[in-house]
Symmetry: C2
Subunit: 193 residues, 2 copies
């Protein structure tokens, strides 16, 4: 792996572990055994590192969305699989979700990229709902305003479940995934057939 990617890797690990507050470019450099000068040769500004990591996140998310579009979700098992893979993504880029608001106000391009992500997800979710309704998993008498509220709830869980978990139970790995899955599904429960 080249230095640029190694920097991103080291930065991600440190941001996730120590939090963006205490991690500096010097920390990242010393953690991976290179000089600060070298780090700033590859990333002139600290924001550039975070911006690149956010780019990785959106790229991975795009991949998931694309996979769904090709092979659309029709059963509960497939829904589980989707939930699992999106949770994995959130966990991988924990620090972004934990500091989302701060990052968005600090780095404008992140706010813009998030807006695009949102509209992509909105389409994806309404697609998902329609699919599940069409296959009889879901009730068909759900109004569009209600569907909108469900989407809002799903967004809230996707974006902030990891923060809530950090404040309360601090579950990790499989245990965390199980509860996350349950929490996401509990939104659907009242509307299942």
């Amino acid at each position: 792996m080249n230095t640029k990617d190694r920097i991103l890797q080291a930065a991600l690990a440190l941001y996730n572990q120590e939090g963006i507050r205490s991690v500096t470019t010097r920390h990242i450099a010393t953690a991976m055994g290179i000089s600060p000068g070298n780090l700033h040769y590859h990333f002139k500004h600290t924001e550039d590192i975070i911006q690149a990591l956010f780019g990785q996140l959106t790229a991975s998310y795009d991949q998931i969305v694309q996979d769904i579009a090709q092979h659309s979700i029709q059963t509960i098992e497939e829904l589980h699989q989707y939930i699992d893979s999106s949770f994995h993504l959130i966990e991988t880029y924990r620090f972004i979700f934990i500091n989302f608001v701060e990052l968005a106000s600090w780095i404008p391009s992140i706010r813009e990229a998030y807006q695009q992500l949102i509209s992509k997800r909105e389409k994806e979710f309404s697609h998902l709902f329609n699919n599940l309704a069409h296959n009889g998993v879901f009730r068909t008498d759900i109004s569009s305003t209600l569907q909108n509220r469900l989407v809002r709830q799903l967004f809230l869980i996707s974006d902030f479940w990891i923060s809530a978990n950090e404040l309360t139970d601090q579950l990790r790995g499989e245990e965390a995934l199980a509860v996350y899955r349950e929490d996401v599904l509990s939104i659907f429960v009242p509307y299942l057939n």
Copy 2:
């Protein structure tokens, strides 16, 4: 108002407006026209300021809970009133909710105080549910595991709605309150009679 309280007031305003990342003790001092030395005479460390503000938050919340305990919620209108006053509290201490995880890991006493807040809220919510069920507003066939999930959803909304709003619509004032109210109530909708 004495200097100590004025510092807290100025700090709260700045943290809410600029975010904890860019606000320093010097900023707070110059914003209110006192010297840095004076500020640190009243609050030796920056954490002490944030800790005091968090104390204000929990104290205000305790007040709300106490009011409810005395005059318990039985109608939808009273539920609205409760939602409104808790939203007001969240909005007043925005920065805490926006940086909750970071603050909790930075200042251990905040994490501890939050744990206590959580258990207080859990009791309060189950009380609320039972009241509403008893008064026929709510269905009575809701299992305790389901109730637990509802509580989790309510916590997620209470603690992170303001963050989600910041990332997306950035609603303010009355408009924000209206949507918040709607989002909280939409959790109850499937279980109303």
